[in-house]
């Protein structure tokens, strides 16, 4: 892929954290690019620095060196162009579902904002819960609110940092399918961080495997299978074995 066309282009970023006298390298020269509309998953062992990596790419932390550009322009900080969805979520507990969705919407017409918010509430299957407070909802429903709140501002990129790993196994599976359905309705570029190889295989167009800390890209897998994917099919299982092999657990 030509770097010029890349939606996200990351060049040789490095990051160390100070630990006492020593400095602990966490990300050690990662370069990657994500095309417009592409779904890229980054898998790696826990504690390998993948969370740090996505925070840097999303603009919440600075790399010690290297550069990140979005649409060819240098990225300086977080922006509504790319919304982060993280493991523990950040739906505001003091706002109703509708107020949460309207939070990121600037502009004037209040009526339009509410209508837009309700449209997305409907899209994630929460019609009827517009006036509910988050503590009245289940974990899976909260995840939907967070997804809808991100989608309503029409971000070009979704940064997903272990988005479904705090959910129970069944809800985790359900949310994957749900996300694929939504992405088929609205095109987004997605960068997903996960430790769940099957989750990556179910959704991603391309999978990058990170090495243990300090993180470097160890292998890349193109995932050619058409959606909706069946994880039990032999070809998918074979790729899973290869990825697990890269992660050193097969």
């Amino acid at each position: 892929m030509d770097v010029k066309d890349a939606k996200i282009s990351v060049k040789d970023i490095r990051k160390s954290f100070a630990s006492g006298q020593a400095s602990l390298p966490v990300v050690d020269g990662v370069s990657l690019s994500v095309a417009d509309g592409e779904f890229v998953a980054i898998v790696g062992p826990s504690g390998c620095g993948k969370s740090t990596l996505i925070k840097i790419i999303a603009g919440f932390e600075r790399a010690d060196s290297g550069s990140i550009s979005i649409d060819g322009a240098q990225r300086n900080g977080p922006s509504p162009k790319g919304i982060v969805i993280s493991q523990h979520g950040s739906v505001f507990p003091w706002l109703t579902v509708q107020q949460n969705l309207m939070f990121g919407l600037n502009g004037n017409g209040h009526g339009d904002k509410a209508a837009l918010a309700d449209h997305y509430t409907d899209m994630v299957g929460l019609k009827g819960f517009e006036k509910s407070y988050p503590h009245e909802l289940s974990g899976g429903m909260l995840k939907r609110v967070e997804l809808a709140r991100a989608l309503v501002v029409k971000p070009e990129i979704l940064y997903m940092d272990e988005p479904f790993s705090a959910l129970d196994a069944l809800m985790n599976l359900r949310m994957r399918t749900e996300l694929m359905r939504i992405l088929s309705e609205e095109r987004h570029t997605v960068l997903l961080i996960t430790h769940d190889v099957e989750e990556a295989l179910f959704m991603a167009d391309r999978i990058l495997v990170l090495s243990p800390r300090p993180a470097t890209i160890q292998a890349t897998f193109e995932v050619p299978f058409a959606h909706p994917r069946k994880l039990s099919s032999p070809a998918v299982q074979q790729m899973k074995e290869q990825i697990l092999g890269e992660l050193g657990v097969s």
């Binding site: 922006s79 509504p80 919304i83 523990h88 950040s90 505001f92 003091w94 990121g104 407070y133 503590h135």
Partner: protein, 252 residues
């Protein structure tokens, strides 16, 4: 039925204490310490001539004025200190020194500066309630979870939206706790402050009753009234905690 059960035990203790008090006063044949009945008749006397309401009104007015002005100062100050690291580092040590000084210790200065009118007790209430509210509010801002601030940052909202929809609602439960503490202290202090040379208020009523012919029935009546009003004030603040936009904190 359950409600009745809940109040049965405390009610029993209360009735037993009053009975005990009554028996002891009768047994010792005290001429100066009143029986519960004398306290009730004393209270009725004050109700009948209307002075009780004047005293209660005066005390509540002082608490209200002092406490509200303290809230108006403390909440913005606490928010500012919570958000701006430099302000916190500069002001917090001073407030930490001032906070443990009993408001009673300020009485001489209050009289020196403001005389013995209404301003002195209002000032004392202000001093008493402003520091706990500042500290509580600033601490509340500090404990806002990073993920919420990150999300606000991510959506690129204006400072106004950040304050109105994130910071203020996130800190509101802490502010209410601070106000509860502040109002409790304010009520403690007004009674003490009124004992010094004023012509109205429940604190004045206590001292005046003793000085004007050892009316200990009125002393105890005032004490009971102070207790009941304190309880009602605290109950009002507790109700605030139950508001829907605040209950998120206790919802889980």
């Amino acid at each position: 039925m359950k409600k009745l059960k809940d109040i049965l035990a405390p009610l029993t203790v209360l009735v037993a204490s009053i009975a005990c008090w009554w028996v002891i006063v009768l047994q010792t044949e005290s001429v100066i310490f009143p029986t519960p009945l004398q306290v009730v008749t004393g209270t009725m006397e004050l109700v009948a001539d209307g002075t009780l309401w004047d005293h209660i009104g005066a005390s509540l007015f002082r608490v209200g004025t002092g406490f509200l002005s303290a809230t108006l100062v403390a909440v913005p100050m606490g928010l500012w200190m919570g958000r701006v690291e430099g302000a916190y580092r500069t002001l917090n040590p001073i407030f930490q020194i001032l906070r443990p000084i009993s408001p009673i210790a300020w009485i001489p200065l209050a009289i020196l500066w403001f005389g013995v009118g209404n301003v002195s007790p209002i000032f004392l209430i202000f001093i008493a309630s402003v520091f706990p509210m500042i500290v509580q509010t600033a601490a509340g801002v500090h404990t806002i979870e990073k993920r919420y601030l990150r999300a606000a940052d991510n959506f690129g909202v204006s400072r106004y939206t950040l304050f109105r929809q994130v910071i203020i609602p996130a800190v509101l439960p802490e502010i209410i706790v601070g106000m509860r503490i502040g109002l409790g202290v304010a009520w403690l202090v007004v009674v003490a402050a009124e004992m010094i040379a004023l012509r109205s208020g429940l604190g004045y009523l206590i001292m005046d009753s003793r000085n004007a012919g050892n009316r200990y029935d009125l002393v105890i009546a005032s004490m009971v009234i102070i207790g009941v009003i304190g309880l009602l004030l605290d109950g009002t603040m507790r109700r605030l905690e139950g508001l829907k936009s605040i209950r998120w904190r206790y919802g889980r």
